[in-house]
């Protein structure tokens, strides 16, 4: 069985309410569950007259079942949250590249903002299996938005919890908290753009390896429409490699988040200032 993406029909096995608007779904789809790598995602076709699929990170994956952790953002996620158990859902996956593992002995800090936590269950599981020293920093607006801890806690790594309003854990951002933690060898991040930008800035400043999983509005989810690009340094591995456009003075090229990512290293990314 090969691990490239497939067009599959997944069955909705269970739906768990996590917080108002937040859900944890389990879907049965052996191909995705067996081959998913950390930070990969699926693209779901939901009933309701939508022209494009909904991309969602693969949160958990065990045996023939994978889990989704999501918020009701807009129409498609709201529709997904309303599907009855037993529903059949057309699913393409697993999609995207994956986090690279650290070397043995390196110390890891994982930084997740909000639903960015959905990118990390598979990574944490592999870090545990590889006995890597890992700290997990989770942030959210306030305590009720701290979803996804249940599953991660099972691996026994230490947690640092941060909330903007101080309703649980440290008051402040995950980046604030990170500054006061012992230096890591490898950082992994997923969450809002400004958080990842700050994380990458910090990593670059201290010369720490840092991988982040990005999000963008997707069209095709597969790499054909060029709708989801991110700016990367010219010559970096995931970039188009096209010649420099006339009049283009910036030292940048584009890469597709859906196909060349979603994981990029901080060394390659070019952030808007």
């Amino acid at each position: 069985m090969d691990s490239s993406p497939r067009l599959e029909t997944a069955t909705l096995v269970s739906r768990e309410f996590r917080a108002p608007g937040f859900w944890f779904l389990k879907l049965r789809c052996e191909h995705v569950a067996r081959h998913a790598r950390p930070a990969q995602f699926v693209a779901l076709d939901l009933p309701g007259g939508f022209a494009v699929r909904l991309p969602l990170g693969i949160y958990t994956a065990q045996d023939d079942t994978f889990g989704l952790l999501f918020k009701e953002w807009g129409e498609r996620t709201t529709r997904l949250a309303a599907l009855p158990e037993g529903s059949q859902i057309s699913c393409i996956g697993p999609l995207g590249n994956a986090f690279a593992m650290p070397r043995a002995g390196e110390r890891v800090v994982i930084v997740a903002g909000g639903l960015g936590v959905a990118a990390f269950w598979m990574l944490v599981k592999e870090l545990k299996e590889a006995s890597i020293d890992t700290t997990i920093v989770l942030g959210a607006r306030s305590a009720p938005h701290l979803v996804g801890r249940e599953e991660l806690a099972a691996f026994g790594f230490p947690f640092e919890i941060c909330t903007d309003d101080g309703s649980e854990g440290h008051r402040g951002t995950v980046i604030d908290r990170l500054r006061s933690l012992p230096r890591a060898d490898v950082l992994y991040g997923c969450g809002p753009g400004n958080m990842l930008q700050a994380l990458c800035g910090l990593a670059d400043k201290h010369g720490i390896t840092c991988q982040v999983s990005l999000e963008e509005t997707f069209g095709c989810s597969l790499g054909t429409c060029w709708g989801c690009v991110v700016s990367v340094r010219r010559g970096s591995g995931q970039a188009t490699g096209y010649p420099r456009a006339p009049g283009e003075s910036r030292d940048l090229d584009f890469a597709r988040v859906c196909k060349d990512g979603t994981v990029f290293s901080s060394a390659e990314l070019v952030w808007a200032s």
């Binding site: 490239s4 993406p5 497939r6 067009l7 076709d45 007259g49 939508f50 022209a51 494009v52 699929r53 498609r76 057309s90 393409i92 963008e216 509005t217 997707f218 069209g219 095709c220 989810s221 597969l222 790499g223 054909t224 429409c225 060029w226 709708g227 989801c228 690009v229 991110v230 188009t240 096209y242 010649p243 420099r244 456009a245 006339p246 283009e248 940048l252 090229d253 584009f254 196909k259």
Partner: protein
């Protein structure tokens, strides 16, 4: 009935497609991503992303946003430019498991002619589509496809430089498509594609700014299907060259709407994003219709709704 041999071939100028279902430009690359999950060789042809003379990074992000029944995009013709295309992508074209239609975009008549000439004769390429929805920098930025004279100039210039069939792709944002299509035919076009995306815009209310960095974009997908079917109907009543119909096709029934309105072939763009098997479904729908009507060739379906009288009166 299933055993009857059906003739799905269609002609676009001198080129023959094995079937009338084409992947639309900008939505399929060379099929390499979709090949991971479906048999892209079932397409009668794959249209490449439009190639420009110079490399282009395209527009800033966001570039796409979903709308009711549709998708708004403003990619901005991101691409390698013709030199890099010839060096690195053209050699791969022979691996595409079906025919290829090249697409050219340009900002002047000279650019179209130059790039199209370099596309002529590439392996597997059976026709050249012209994305004339770009602004004409020689004529105050007016869109080539909005002006019969500009369009005729592009088509004429390209025809004088290439042997392959030339297919200008018209856009619906004009008061009357008929004189424009007529001008394309008179200038030597071998077929016309219609329609390109419809101009549209979404406002990001939360942030009080346009949702796309480019402000406006092109609307595609099922939302625009009635606009596209109407365009085909109008143009089919005007020109005699074949029409490649597209805009929101998602099913066999949708494909048949375009054929019945007067298209000889159809193309599918956005629907691939939702349903990578859409081309197979469209083909099956066409085959079933041929059997249902006991018609042997798909070519007989073209314009089928034009010959029947519109339903008269009400009861």
């Amino acid at each position: 009935m299933t055993g009857a041999p059906l003739d799905l071939r269609v002609k676009i100028g001198a080129a023959t497609l094995k079937n009338p279902v084409i992947a639309a430009s900008g939505c399929y690359n060379r099929g390499e991503e979709y090949a991971q999950i479906v048999d892209v060789g079932r397409y009668g042809a794959i249209t490449l992303k439009s190639v420009t003379r110079s490399p282009r990074l395209g527009n800033d992000m966001p570039r796409v946003f979903p709308t009711p029944g549709g998708l708004l995009n403003a990619i901005g013709l991101q691409g390698p430019g013709i030199d890099h295309f010839l060096a690195h992508i053209a050699p791969e074209l022979s691996k595409v498991p079906t025919a290829v239609i090249a697409s050219v975009a340009g900002f002047s008549v000279a650019e179209f002619a130059e790039v199209a000439a370099l596309m002529d004769g590439l392996p597997n390429v059976i026709a050249i589509e012209l994305d004339v929805s770009c602004p004409n920098v020689d004529r105050e930025g007016q869109c080539f496809a909005a002006d019969a004279a500009s369009l005729a100039a592009v088509v004429g210039a390209v025809k004088s430089r290439v042997k392959l069939p030339v297919i200008p792709k018209l856009m619906p944002n004009v008061a009357d498509l008929r004189p424009i299509a007529q001008a394309a035919q008179d200038a030597g076009a071998d077929a016309v594609s219609l329609i390109n995306a419809v101009r549209g815009m979404v406002v990001d209310v939360a942030n009080a700014r346009p949702m796309l960095a480019n402000v406006s974009g092109g609307l595609t997908g099922p939302a625009i299907r009635p606009i596209a079917v109407h365009a085909v109907w109008e143009v089919a009543g005007t020109v005699s060259i074949p029409i490649i119909g597209m805009g929101g096709i998602e099913t066999g029934n949708d494909a048949l709407e375009f054929l019945f309105a007067g298209a000889s072939a159809i193309a599918i763009g956005t629907a691939n994003f939702r349903d990578p098997l859409v081309h197979v479904r469209a083909l099956q729908g066409i085959e079933e219709e041929l059997r249902r009507r006991s018609v042997a060739s798909v070519r007989e379906l073209t314009g089928m709704a034009r010959t029947t009288q519109a339903k008269a009166g009400s009861h």
